[in-house]
Structure formats: structure tokens, C-alpha cells
């Protein structure tokens, strides 16, 4: 169900745990579905011995996708008009992520109602891994 402008106010929040104990297998699943087979995400030998990272890490777009799951659960299906993120820290196997949306504006444009949100996804240490913003069409 779409959100209703009449039931929302600036400062309202919605948060969800979007992944618990992220597995290397889920990262591989994302590689297969998205087509991004960069070995930095799936190949422990390459990533540690050649690229110099402690282990493989999630695709930024997997973290954006996980954040998007919280977002569409909140604003409804097919209502997003904008969704953008910055990847601020890497996401590692074993991470548990919580995504949060905060209402920053409610507006009316051309007879339609919209909500503007800021987004933040943090890991189990409270470190932000994604910050972003989104807009969605809502009911009056």
C-alpha cells in the first residue's frame, strides 16, 4: 500500500534489518543475478593475495538492493521516483545491516503527492555503509 500524505510528518522513520550475517554465498548469488563477476566480491584468493583486501566484500549494488528492500516495503510497490546512494564503507561477509528511512519533506506537484526521504544503512558496529535519498509518489 502506498503511504498517505495525511498520515505522515517530517521526522517519521521506518527501519528494517535487511540482512543478518551476510554470507559469501549471497554475494555470489548477487554476482550471478546482476552479472557483475568482479573477483573482488567472489574470489577470496584473488582479493586477499592480489588486491590486498582482508577478504571479499559485497557489491555496492547489493547493499543498495538491500536498502531498496526496506524502502519499497515502506513506500509501496512501483511508487519510487528517485533513489540514490553513496557507498561510504565496505560491507563484509558476516555483516548485519539495518536500513532506515527518514521523512524530510512532503510536497505536492502537479496534483500529485510526494515524500522525500533520507536513507542510511548501518552495520553491526553502527558504521554507516550507505547514505542516500529517495522520493516516492504517495496518496493524499
Amino acid at each position: 500500500m502506498a503511504l498517505k500524505a495525511s498520515a505522515l510528518k517530517v521526522g517519521d522513520t521506518h527501519s528494517e534489518r535487511v540482512v543478518e550475517n551476510l554470507s559469501r554465498t549471497q554475494i555470489i548469488q548477487y554476482a550471478g543475478a546482476s552479472g557483475d563477476y568482479n573477483p573482488l566480491h567472489t574470489d577470496e584468493v584473488y582479493t586477499t593475495q592480489v588486491a590486498g583486501y582482508p577478504t571479499v566484500f559485497a557489491h555496492g549494488m547489493l547493499t543498495m538492493g538491500l536498502t531498496g528492500k526496506m524502502l519499497t516495503n515502506y513506500v509501496g510497490d512501483g511508487t519510487l521516483t528517485k533513489f540514490g546512494v553513496r557507498f561510504t564503507n565496505q560491507v563484509w561477509p558476516g555483516d548485519t545491516l539495518v536500513s532506515k528511512a527518514t521523512v524530510v519533506a512532503l510536497r505536492e506537484e502537479g496534483g500529485h503527492h510526494y515524500v522525500d526521504l533520507t536513507l542510511s544503512t548501518t552495520n553491526q558496529d553502527g558504521k554507516e555503509v550507505v547514505s542516500g535519498s529517495a522520493s516516492a509518489r504517495i496518496d493524499p
Binding site: Q26, G35, V45, Y53, L71, V85
Partner: protein, 160 residues
């Protein structure tokens, strides 16, 4: 720049939704999706990124006729540093004019955008590159615009 034909299929949407752990029936159950505000199956908002599957020259997919930079017998299958080493995804932005559905045949046109530099304590000199992808449908209508901003680092990002 390159134009890529991107046929949107229900099974691909289902696999993509599984990969992001999203069990919303609007991504896999046609009967349930019919009764939602979307009126049928749609793709998750980040699904357009999987256009990579349809790019014949995509450099992050191994190919039978080329050496691959991931590990095999040794820790990498190529000599020297791979072209994409150190390149990370910094930002991604989507603008939706409508949400895509199974049966859409999109044409994605990729254009280079702005390039800029920044100094960072954690990874040395950073070079940012925006890549703009415009997704048009079978009627030529602009459906989605995406900005993918990549960053090349001087050295691996310090985890401190």
C-alpha cells in the same frame, strides 16, 4: 557510446529479488502481484544494474576466449595489474519515470559523464567517473536514468 538491448524476463527478476533477499510477491508471483498497486510483476528498483548481463563486452564477466584476472592455478590469471583493479563503486542514482516489467525490451545507452579528483587519507588520490545510462522502452520512452559513479583509488582503502 554503446547501446545494449536488455530484454526483461520474469525469471531474471525472480533471481535478482532472491539475491537481494527480497521475498515481496510483486517480484515473483503474477497472481499476487495483480492485486497490488503495481498491477502485476515489476522489477526491484536496483534491477536495471543487471543490464551488465546483456553487455557483450562487459569486462567483469569471464569469457572463454580471454584470460581472466581472478584466481585459477595462481592467484590471478593474468600478468601485471588488471585494468579494473582498485576501481570501486562510489555512488549510484536512479530516476524512475515508470517501473519496468517482464516483457519490456529496454535499450540502454551508456554515456560517459563528469570526471573529478579528490585527495583522501584512507586511499590516496581518488578519481571519480560518472557513467550515465538511459534506459528506453520498446516505444522509445525514457523509463529510467542511472548515474553510476566509480572511483579509482591510489591504494586499497584503509580499514582503520
Amino acid at each position: 557510446m554503446a547501446k545494449i538491448t536488455f530484454p526483461v524476463e520474469a525469471s531474471h527478476i525472480m533471481m535478482f529479488a532472491r539475491a537481494i533477499g527480497d521475498t515481496n510477491p510483486v517480484y515473483h508471483d503474477a497472481a499476487a502481484a495483480k492485486d497490488t498497486e503495481a498491477g502485476g510483476i515489476i522489477a526491484p528498483p536496483t534491477f536495471p544494474a543487471s543490464v551488465a548481463q546483456f553487455d557483450p563486452d562487459y569486462h567483469l564477466r569471464p569469457r572463454p576466449d580471454q584470460k581472466w584476472f581472478g584466481s585459477a592455478k595462481g592467484p590471478t590469471g593474468i600478468e601485471g595489474k588488471p585494468a579494473s583493479s582498485g576501481s570501486l563503486h562510489a555512488e549510484h542514482h536512479f530516476e524512475y519515470h515508470r517501473h519496468i516489467r517482464p516483457g519490456d525490451v529496454l535499450t540502454a545507452e551508456i554515456k560517459p559523464g563528469k570526471v573529478w579528483e579528490k585527495e583522501s587519507k584512507r586511499a590516496g588520490k581518488l578519481t571519480f567517473r560518472d557513467r550515465v545510462t538511459e534506459y528506453r522502452d520498446q516505444d522509445g520512452q525514457l523509463v529510467i536514468t542511472a548515474h553510476s559513479i566509480g572511483v579509482t583509488t591510489e591504494r586499497p582503502v584503509d580499514q582503520g
